[in-house]
Symmetry: none
Subunit: 353 residues, 2 copies
């Protein structure tokens, strides 16, 4: 039920039966305000998506808006999958990392880590991120992190995040064109490409790694690059729960290590995504992972919506939405702890009425 | 669903809902190379059985050979039962104890405890075990052991282990003839008895307890005797997950205690085996347990393959295979945690295709 993308089964099998803490990185980039760039949320309210996702996975309702984030086509947020697993086999704890939000989630009794990071600007105008500072905050967070469980599942909710990830990978010199997934079945490559081209046109010969990141990245990518490196001396295992955006955070790590002539110990890190990303013909997460100098165990949860008749969920199997809010890692957690595809499907359906 | 062999239900009921760590003792004795002595594995490859069993319970595939250990009659290893339970209700962790193997399991990310113990020789030639040293290593391991869970389930995979156990019990003066089970439905008593007779003929009047063990025992029996005694001052509960071989480890403990004029506190120890052993008419685990000076809670998991039509599994109900790789203890763990006989059966079937 867990399939291998790169590496072997051992890492993920060693997590079978273990408890995980779920950490959600929430961030806004104004890139999401560009019309048609993403369907990760409600048009005009896209900035609310991470806020609503956080509320929904934590307490099962949304407080900052009437209803849960849905795409214009009516594809419900992958937060439903994460929440379904949490109801059936709960995470040991859920914590939120606020990496630049317009609106904070309205939650009590849940740990919300704040870093004083502002939402980033659109990469078409220059993201304007204090990249070194955000990176440092990621390192610091990892170095001081304490968890009550056996490992971390790190998810993200960043509308337009695949656009900023594509721009980042290209700006860092990776052959990444056509390798990033999209929340759309038919990715709006015209709009997306034009935004990425605008972003890349702002990069000059004198830009170093961090000045490139400050122009075309997003806070999640940069913070998580720091987090991954900051965990190097900690005895904490982490599953990066995401698709091509998490793969991009690793590409950033790779460039930083090349600059520092450092190496990455990947014995406590893996990536886990959804089947919809792993089998997506319009992107190539495996290729992105293999661009790194280091080898990494990467997996996907062999879950789809073949057991439902619900039309909104069937859209996932047709290629809409695909991943986000740690859905792939959450599904992996459920499957590793004995949940059946059927049980997860029924629970997700129950949210939709 | 858990039935009592000796003692009462209280010990096992107190473990209901608790999490267990599964520890697998793996050992080779060259006794297994005697033709027709065991069907715990593939002829000519019997030494690989513990290695393959370990790989299969940990990661669900075998790496050291193309396919999973099967007896000549096509009875699949009881590791299938242990793995099935682990998938449906995972152990908190799986760790391996390498007590003399020709080939180590090929696993990453799983704790493999190594003790520098060599495979033992055939008891027909003298097992040639440094018995006191192996015993001491068992004590030491128990004294330093840390687990992340509420109790230990200790399984074993030792091809030809019932032959060495029978020889050991007889050599130690127990009235154990016809009380040890076999992986065969119709135990090859001719061959087995002749090997046991050869082993016993090597015991002289001057042999003390440990020199007897060094001639006719196997590493698992001796190490686990140490382990059981080493746990006496630890607040760790343990379920010996096995049949007559685990009963023999207790008979060894009993003789050691008689020699030392010591007593065993059995309040944190139980034995749990399968129905196939408990109801076996050709052996008598209850009688073996009652030969000890101490009383012990012993149980069996009331599971059989009555719900399947799979011919390879039906052989278990006809008396082949019976126990091993902690199957009885694993089934007990599943049943204590709400798994149904049906769910376990379906999962085991899924491995066979």
């Amino acid at each position: 039920m867990i399939k291998t993308i790169t590496g072997n089964k051992d890492f993920i099998e060693s997590l079978r039966g273990k408890r995980a803490s779920f950490l959600l990185c929430m961030s806004n980039t104004k890139t999401a305000n560009i019309e048609g760039i993403t369907q990760a949320g409600i048009p005009g309210m896209l900035h609310l998506t991470p806020t609503l996702d956080a509320e929904f996975i934590a307490i099962g309702e949304v407080r900052s808006l009437g209803s849960i984030a849905e795409t214009p086509k009516g594809v419900p947020t992958p937060a439903l999958l994460t929440r379904a697993v949490h109801l059936l086999h709960p995470f040991r704890e859920i914590e939120m990392l606020e990496l630049g939000l317009e609106i904070s989630p309205k939650l009590e009794h849940f740990k919300l880590h704040s870093f004083g990071i502002a939402p980033s600007d659109s990469i078409s105008d220059g993201a304007n991120i204090p990249a070194e500072e955000v990176f440092e905050k990621g390192i610091q967070f990892a170095q001081n992190l304490t968890i009550q469980s056996d490992y971390i599942i790190l998810g993200e909710s960043v509308p337009a995040g695949t656009t900023t990830a594509l721009a980042t990978a290209l700006a860092l010199g990776y052959d990444a064109q056509d390798k990033f997934s999209s929340s759309f079945k038919n990715a709006p490559s015209g709009i997306k490409q034009s935004v990425v081209d605008q972003a890349l046109s702002r990069i000059g010969e004198n830009d170093d790694l961090f000045s490139i990141l400050s122009k075309v990245g997003d806070n999640m990518l940069i913070f998580n690059a720091g987090l991954i490196l900051g965990l190097q001396n900690r005895d904490i295992r982490i599953v990066l729960a995401g698709g091509t955006q998490m793969a991009c955070a690793l590409l950033v790590v790779n460039r930083i290590l090349q600059m520092m002539e450092g190496e990455l110990d990947t014995s406590r890190i893996a990536l886990c995504t959804t089947k919809w990303v792993a089998e997506d013909t319009q992107s190539d997460i495996k290729a992105l992972l293999e661009m790194n100098d280091f080898a990494l165990n990467a997996y996907y949860a062999d879950f789809d919506f073949s057991l439902t008749d619900h039309p909104a969920l069937k859209l996932y199997d047709e290629g809409e939405a695909k991943e986000g809010v740690g859905a792939g890692g959450a599904l992996m957690y459920g499957l590793l702890n004995g949940l059946s595809k059927e049980a997860i499907t029924r629970k997700v359906e129950s949210f939709l009425g």
